[in-house]
Symmetry: C2
Subunit: 108 residues, 2 copies
Amino acid sequence: MQRTTTEMTYTAREEAIARYAKALSHPVRIRILSFLEKQSCCFTGKLTEEIPMAQSTISQHLKELKDAGLIQGDVLPPRIKYCINQKAWEEAKSIFSAFFEQEPLVTK
Amino acid sequence: MQRTTTEMTYTAREEAIARYAKALSHPVRIRILSFLEKQSCCFTGKLTEEIPMAQSTISQHLKELKDAGLIQGDVLPPRIKYCINQKAWEEAKSIFSAFFEQEPLVTK
DNA sequence: ATTGTATATCGCAAATGAACGATCTATTTG
DNA sequence: CAAATAGATCGTTCATTTGCGATATACAAT
């Protein structure tokens, strides 16, 4: 009846929010980030002690957080020290803040 | 080698953040919410005019936003007026804000 | 060179998500 | 009651995500 797919495109802002949100969309990743927030940094091993999941699964979640830019890994053989990526963290913070800031008008 | 699945459980906070984040994890849903933010409310029809996607697809995204609690629909036959759910919006806002607020310690 | 340690990557299976066209539902209008 | 309208739901297809065990990699220590 309508709208034959004109091919959807998004703004950089829309994609950025969605991308960060996706990284935050699994509770175990929230836990990992909360942990890093407190500790500043930690090794994967610490997380596998704290979180009852296979090491490979945790490694995969770390990869997703890294791909989203929210964390970074410092190679410190034979281990890897993960830290929050300050820059991305600030960006995500302000991008979400701006998104929610603009209060929707009250229902009329 | 380790950690035989003790069965993972999450806090309500972790699940709440992940749940809201999941709702925000697709750019078209960001667009819909931004639109509602500006307009306060609108009918599905308005969205199908604005967004080049099948009506059924938009309806599905609306359902996800509704399931997450971020929007609500007022039945106003034969149409449905969607609005941001103020209460959930505020909750999401403060939950994300609190999550990002606690600055991670600087890398040592 | 062998061994050990920490972590990543692979390959799989099951579950979930995205998009669509088609159909159903509920209500208003004729 | 019939037709029109707005929107939800269904069923399908295809892609992505999740979680796991097994294996690979990279370096340090012996």
